[in-house]
């Protein structure tokens, strides 16, 4: 499902920051009747949440079973459909009709009913055309949860884009919402962690990204295959990943639709610790090279040329194979904590994650692109807004 209109069950996984609750309510109200909300969490339903979603079903365990059961009840009429949360009113009241019946003072430019109208702006060819201001996110299916872009679109072209700051400002209190692998990388800042465990986590993270990225390129079946692989993959099993990569590359269409899209120059990324994104642009930056254990294992970073979306795809697949190989050879070796570590998305430090360093690149990256290319570029960056703004806090929470 890419749109709430087609859905009947809203599954909320983990805690939702207060700043997203309004958007969540909008998503809820866009669903079709009969509808129900399931909250997957181990902590008790907060007061605000319970008030907003009176029919909320909480699940703490097998979520798939629970969703199926709730859905069945809903269709059988054993559970009533949830009423809308927000009132069905215009964001701004109608300001009446003008003297020439032209639709009132709010109609000429500005924001009638609180909705901005099309206005003129120069496009990439230097033509002054109408643009439509559009807010995309925070639950847009192709974006990471929480990412909000304010874009000005002329037809299918992004004239201007602006990213809103991440709504995930504080570490979440809910263990379910906390990614076990994020916690692992955060812990590696302070204590020795098994190399094999860390590299498997990296491989799984890349494969999950691949599954998600494949969906945005309309390859649902292959996406499912990548997702299954992310769960089942074993150390040293680079063959399975290569086989999947071949299934993606033999027709060349995927390469054709990502090559040259969202190009980032290595010079701009140098020293920023942007992990696969930097290495795809040819930079040999990897925190693992500082760790004697990795040197002992003969680790050298893989890099690509090009710095475009296609290079980032290749980079993550190559890194997955490399990680599986290291995991197989690592035996009982453990990392040495250094106050900085290489997460699947780049360098993490006690108070810094790669996402916050990567987000400022986004507006320039997608300016002037077709919307499809803009999405391809964003997907290839593997932004993760929920990735803990403070690894320190997470590491403490995870013990």
């Amino acid at each position: 499902m890419d749109t709430p209109r087609a859905a009947n069950v809203l599954l909320v996984a983990g805690d939702i920051p207060e700043s997203l609750s309004e958007a969540l309510a909008h998503t809820h109200d866009a669903m079709s009747h009969p509808r129900v909300t399931v909250w997957w969490s181990s902590v008790p339903v907060p007061q605000t949440m319970a008030e907003r979603f009176p029919g909320l079903v909480q699940v703490d365990g097998d979520v798939v079973e629970a969703v199926i059961a709730v859905h069945r009840d809903l269709l059988a009429g054993r559970r009533s459909s949830e009423p809308p949360i927000l009132p069905d009113v215009d964001p701004v009241p109608w300001r009446g009709e003008g003297p020439y019946h032209q639709g009132g003072s709010g109609m000429t430019g500005g924001t009638p009913y609180g909705r901005p109208m099309a206005e003129l702006m120069e496009d990439r060819d230097g033509l002054r055309l109408d643009y439509i201001p559009l807010k995309v996110g925070p639950f847009f299916p192709r974006f990471p949860v929480g990412l909000v872009l304010n874009v000005k679109m002329a037809g299918d072209v992004v004239l201007e884009a602006e990213a809103e700051p991440s709504p995930f400002t504080t570490a979440v209190s809910d263990v379910l919402a906390m990614d076990a692998e994020d916690a692992l990388f955060a812990r590696s800042l302070y204590e020795p962690v098994a190399v094999a465990e860390l590299e498997m986590a990296r491989a799984r993270s890349h494969l999950r990204w691949l599954a998600d990225a494949l969906l945005s390129h309309e390859l649902h079946a292959l996406g499912l295959r990548a997702l299954r692989l992310s769960v089942e993959v074993k150390a040293g099993d680079g063959v399975a990943v290569r086989r999947l990569a071949r299934a993606l590359s033999w027709t060349q269409v995927l390469r054709w639709s990502t090559a040259g899209v969202g190009r980032m120059r290595g010079d701009d990324l140098a020293g920023m610790g942007l992990g696969p994104v930097a290495r795809a642009a040819g930079l040999e930056e990897d925190q693992r090279t500082d760790d004697p254990v990795y040197r002992e294992l003969g680790f050298t970073p893989v890099v690509q040329k090009g710095g475009d979306a296609a290079a980032r795809w290749r980079q993550r697949i190559a890194e997955t194979v490399q990680s599986l190989d290291i995991a197989a050879r690592a035996e009982g070796r453990e990392t040495s904590p250094m106050q900085h570590a290489e997460s699947p998305r780049g360098r993490i430090e006690p108070d810094s994650v790669p996402f916050s360093r990567l987000l400022p690149f986004v507006p320039d990256l997608i300016r002037g692109l077709e919307w499809g290319d803009a999405v391809t570029s964003l997907v290839s960056l593997d932004l993760d807004l929920q990735a803990i703004p403070q690894p320190r806090v997470i590491a403490e929470a995870a013990g």
Partner: protein, 310 residues
Amino acid sequence: MNDVTSPVLAVVVVGAVMMAGTYTVAVLNTLVGVAVSGDRVRWGRAVAGPVRTAALMLVQQRQSTEKNDAPGWLIAPALLAALAAVSLALVPLGPDLVAADPETGFVVFSSAIAFVMIAVYLHGWSPNSAFPMHGAYRYSAQALSLQIPFLVAMLATVLPAESMSIVDIVQAQESLWNVIRQPLGLPIYLMAAASVSFWGPLNLPDAADLAEGTSAEDSGVARLLWQVARASMLFALAAMGAAGFLGGWWGPWLPGFVWVILKTLALLLILVFAGHTLARVRIEKMVVVAWAVLIPLALVNIFVSGVFLL
């Protein structure tokens, strides 16, 4: 087919074949998807799946949008389905087994295909919402570029038949199928057929990067109708491809209509497999390829066919 009942019969038969075709597309799509994902094929689930999905959509209440164009929203899937029905009605199952065989069969088919753009645009325009509207914009650019090579490739099949009747086009393939006589024709036709029914790599108006584009606001019965219309269009184009390029009813041993069904299924399989294995293409590159490569190739195809007939 001169008596009074035959038009009614034709409508009923075309409707039934279209429903069967839509169901076939849905089952085939599930099966190929499961095979590509590497999962175990569960036949029962694949066969019952489309019925379950349809039932779910029927239970779902329709959500509306603000200040939408209600008649347009209602008409769009009906128009698309009607265009698929028109195309399907022209496909002969045998020399005397066809719902409609006008002398201008090819022209009727062309005009039906040209109207697909109207249906998709209407479907994107009507909900009064940003993503559907963008899907509609996209499809105009896409349809303009790909419908020309599509129809030019199909037009070449008229030459050996020296007739625009689809039955005559199939008759003319008795000794040699058009897929061999005009090797460029079928690949161009299939590529463009995926575009006309916005399928797989060429599903740009309802694409994932637009949260399903023109369908983003669809729910319940409206969503079901649009999906059915789209699948029946894909089926109709596969059937027409079998008639135009694979010699329709011609084939040894089996009765003619079985050959038509088998050939249609073969083309459907190619289209469905492409949908699961080829990534969505970039519209910018696609438009360039359509104008700079496919249209010239389709013209070469037609000239070469002409030269052989002199």
